[in-house]
C-alpha cells in the first residue's frame, strides 16, 4: 500500500520541535503520572509490555494482544483501576498491524488514569473481549465492531451499535468514503405503499413525494 499523502499544504508552519513536550505541556495532569503502575506492569508482564509512549504528560502502554485480558485483570484487581472510562479503536491505515484498540482506565482511589493499547493485524481481526473484566466495555466494543469491523471473542451481544445490521460496511475505516456508499443504506419509503428509497439524494434528483393531503391521481387522468 502506498503512503497516504496529506491533503493539506505540504509545508507545516508550526515547527515540530516546539511540540507539547514531555513536561512543558500546560495541560498535563497529575493524574496521568503513573510511574508506580508502570513499574508493577513491567515486573509482572515483562514479556507482554511492548512499548511505553510518553506524550503530553500521559503514558500509553502497548501490550501484547494475547495477554490483554491478563493485563486488564491485573490492573483492576491488583492496581485498583476499577473504572473503564473509555474504549475505542484507531485505524492506522498504512502501517503494519493496522488497527489499535485503546482502553482508558481510571483508578478513583488514587486519582490515576492510564491508557493501555493493543494492536490488531488486518489478517486476524479478532480480539478477546474485555466484558468479563469490565461490564462497561459492552457498548464500546459493539461500537468498535460497528465502526472498524473488529470482532470481540466472548462478547455475548456483538450487534452493531449505531448503524443498522443491514449495513455492510465499517465507516470509520480510512478507506470508507466520507460521502458514504450510495445504495448501501436504504431510506424509508416516501409513500406508505412505495418501495424503499435507495437514492440518498432522492429529492435533489427530482423525486418529490406527494403530500398526505394530495389527491391520488385518478385512473382517467
Amino acid at each position: 500500500m502506498s503512503k497516504k499523502q496529506p491533503t493539506t499544504l505540504a509545508f507545516r508552519f508550526t515547527p515540530a520541535d516546539s511540540a507539547a513536550g514531555e513536561d512543558s505541556n500546560p495541560h498535563a495532569k497529575a493524574s496521568t503520572d503513573v510511574e508506580a503502575t508502570l513499574e508493577a506492569l513491567a515486573s509482572h508482564f515483562s514479556d507482554a509490555v511492548e512499548e511505553v509512549i510518553a506524550y503530553a504528560g500521559e503514558r500509553t502502554v502497548r501490550v501484547d494482544r494475547a495477554r490483554i485480558i491478563d493485563v486488564l485483570t491485573f490492573l483492576k484487581k491488583e492496581q485498583g483501576y476499577t473504572y473503564l472510562a473509555d474504549l475505542g479503536g484507531i485505524d492506522r491505515f498504512t502501517e503494519d498491524d493496522r488497527y489499535e484498540i485503546m482502553y482508558n482506565l481510571v483508578n478513583m482511589d488514587q486519582g490515576k488514569r492510564i491508557r493501555v493499547v493493543i494492536r490488531v493485524d488486518e489478517d486476524s481481526m479478532t480480539v478477546p473481549s474485555a466484558t468479563a473484566v469490565y461490564k462497561a466495555a459492552n457498548w464500546n466494543e459493539r461500537e468498535v465492531w460497528d465502526m472498524f469491523g473488529i470482532r470481540f471473542e466472548g462478547h455475548n451481544d456483538l450487534r452493531r451499535m449505531f448503524m443498522p445490521d443491514d449495513f455492510d460496511y465499517h465507516p470509520l475505516r480510512k478507506e470508507f468514503p466520507l460521502l458514504g456508499v450510495p445504495g448501501s443504506l436504504p431510506l424509508p419509503p416516501q409513500t406508505p405503499s412505495g418501495g424503499l428509497t435507495l437514492d440518498p439524494f432522492a429529492r435533489a434528483h427530482g423525486s418529490i413525494p406527494p403530500k398526505s393531503f394530495d389527491e391520488p391521481a385518478g385512473e382517467d387522468d
Binding site: F13, T60, M102, M108, L196
Partner: protein, 438 residues
C-alpha cells in the same frame, strides 16, 4: 409463541429487516436475571401474568429524543430491556478527520445541544493539550464561568422535562422561563443563543462586555430565590417523592462496573468529579462542593443535580469577582497557534496572512502526538482523544460522551422496574441522544 417465531422479518418489514430481527433476537436470548429471582421464591403467579413484547420509540415524546427501547413485560414489570440507539448517528468522528481542528468545533455544539459551551471547551482543551498551547488566564475564567452557566441550563432542562414526565407541566414552563434568561446571556456574550461556538483554540473569540457582566450578575442574584422556590415545591412533594424514591437503584459497585458518570455516579455514593479528579481551567482556585448521595435511586440523582446548580452559582460568583480585577488578553498572542485579533487582521499584512493560514491549515500538532482530555460536562465525563499526524487535520478523534456511557446503565436500571417508572428513569439518567449517537 415468541415474536421471532411469529414474524418473518424479511416478509413483513421492508425497512431494516435484519436490524429489527437482531434486536428482537437479542431481547429473546438475553439472560433475564429477574427470572432467577422470581421463580425460586415460590410466590403465587401474578394475576396479571402475561408476557408481552413492547416497542417504545424511537419517535416517542418520553424517550428524550430518538431512543428506542424494546422491552419484554410480565404484567407491568419490565423483565428484559434492550436499548437501540443510533437513530441520530451523523458520524461526527469521521467528519472530524476531514476538518481542521478549529473547523470541527461547531460540530461539538450539536452533540450535547443543552450545554454547547461545555462541549466547545472540551474540544478546545483537548486540542490545546495535544498541541501544547497555553491559554491566557482571563480566557480560562471566562470559559469556566460560561461552562457553569451551561451546566445550570442543562440541569434546568433536565428538571423541567423530568417533572413533565411525572405529570407536572407547569414546572417545565417555569424552568424555560429562567432558561430564557440564560439564553439571553449566551446571546449577549457569544452572539448566539444555542450553537454558541464561543471558545477558540488558544482562548475565546470575544471578551465579555459590561452588559454581559451585568446580565450574569443579575442572574446570579435572582437564581437562588427561584431555586429555593422549586426546592420548596419539590423536596417535600408527596407525589414527586413517591414517583422517585427507590426506583432505578444502582449500588456503588454496579455504578462503577457499568461505567456511569456524572450526577448518576455521584447519586450512587461515589464522589467522582473531573473538576476535582484532574482539575482543568481554574477549578483548583475556586471553592465549591461536590454534592453526593448514597441511596443510588432516582431521588438521590434528583438531589445531586439540584444541589449542583447552586454549586455552579457559587463558582460563577467567584468568576465574576475574579473577572472584575483580572484584565488581559483573551487569546494566545501567538498567531501560529491561535487566531490573531481582528485589529491585527484588518490593519496589518502579517495578521491577514496568519488569519488566512489559520483558517486554511490551522494548528498542526506534531506527528504522532496523541492526548486525551476530559471535562466534567453537565452529564458527566466528556473526553476527547485526539491523535495527530502532523497535518492541520486530526488523524483520529475518539469522543467519550457521557450520555452514551449512562445509557448503558439505563438498560440495567430498567430491568425489574415497572413500566410506569420507565419514563421517570429515562429522565433521571438525563440522556441527550445527539451526544450518545455521535
Amino acid at each position: 409463541m415468541s415474536i421471532i417465531q411469529k414474524t418473518d422479518f424479511d416478509q413483513t418489514l421492508t425497512f431494516w429487516p435484519r436490524h429489527n430481527e437482531a434486536l428482537y433476537r437479542r431481547l429473546e436470548s438475553k439472560h433475564a436475571w429477574l427470572e432467577d429471582r422470581h421463580h425460586g421464591d415460590g410466590a403465587p403467579a401474578d394475576a396479571l401474568h402475561n408476557e408481552m413484547v413492547l416497542n417504545i420509540g424511537p419517535q416517542h415524546p418520553a424517550t428524550h429524543g430518538v431512543l428506542r427501547c424494546a422491552v419484554e413485560l410480565d404484567g407491568e414489570t419490565i423483565q428484559k430491556c434492550v436499548l437501540d440507539i443510533g437513530y441520530l448517528h451523523r458520524g461526527v468522528e469521521k467528519l472530524a478527520e476531514s476538518k481542521t481542528y478549529q473547523e470541527f468545533m461547531p460540530y461539538t455544539d450539536r452533540m450535547d445541544y443543552l450545554a454547547p459551551y461545555s462541549n466547545n471547551v472540551a474540544w478546545c482543551l483537548a486540542v490545546e493539550k495535544v498541541a501544547g498551547i497555553e491559554v491566557p488566564e482571563r480566557a480560562q475564567w471566562i470559559r469556566m464561568m460560561m461552562s457553569e452557566l451551561a451546566r445550570i441550563s442543562a440541569h434546568l432542562l433536565w428538571m423541567g422535562v423530568g417533572l413533565m414526565d411525572a405529570g407536572a407541566v407547569s414546572v417545565f414552563l417555569w424552568s424555560f422561563q429562567i432558561r430564557e434568561d440564560l439564553y439571553s446571556i449566551f446571546d449577549q456574550v457569544t452572539g448566539a443563543r444555542l450553537t454558541v461556538s464561543h471558545s477558540r483554540i488558544g482562548g475565546v473569540v470575544s471578551d465579555i462586555d459590561e452588559t454581559g457582566m451585568a446580565m450574569i450578575r443579575d442572574f446570579v442574584e435572582r437564581f437562588p430565590d427561584v431555586h429555593a422556590g422549586w426546592v420548596k415545591l419539590l423536596n417535600r412533594n408527596r407525589i414527586w417523592i413517591d414517583r422517585n424514591v427507590g426506583i432505578g437503584v444502582l449500588s456503588k459497585d454496579d455504578a462503577i462496573e457499568l461505567g456511569l458518570t456524572g450526577p448518576n455516579l455521584r447519586g450512587s455514593g461515589i464522589a467522582h468529579d473531573i473538576r476535582r479528579f484532574e482539575p482543568y481551567l481554574k477549578y483548583e482556585e475556586v471553592d465549591f462542593n461536590i454534592p453526593m448521595r448514597e441511596e443510588g435511586d432516582a431521588l438521590a440523582r434528583y438531589f445531586v443535580r439540584m444541589e449542583e446548580m447552586m454549586e455552579s452559582i457559587k463558582i460563577v460568583r467567584q468568576c465574576l469577582e475574579k473577572l472584575d480585577s483580572l484584565k488581559g488578553p483573551i487569546r494566545t498572542d501567538d498567531a501560529k497557534r491561535a487566531y490573531p485579533s481582528k485589529n491585527e487582521v484588518y490593519y496589518s499584512m502579517e495578521g491577514l496572512i496568519h488569519d488566512f493560514m489559520y483558517t486554511d491549515t490551522g494548528v498542526a500538532p506534531p506527528k504522532g502526538g496523541a492526548a486525551y482530555h476530559a471535562i466534567e460536562a453537565p452529564k458527566g465525563e466528556l473526553g476527547f482523544y485526539v491523535q495527530s499526524d502532523g497535518t492541520g487535520k486530526p488523524f483520529r478523534v475518539k469522543m467519550n460522551t457521557p450520555s452514551f456511557t449512562n445509557l448503558q446503565g439505563l438498560e440495567h436500571m430498567l430491568e425489574g422496574g415497572l413500566m410506569g417508572d420507565m419514563v421517570i428513569l429515562i429522565g433521571t439518567v438525563d440522556p441527550v441522544l445527539g451526544e450518545a449517537d455521535k
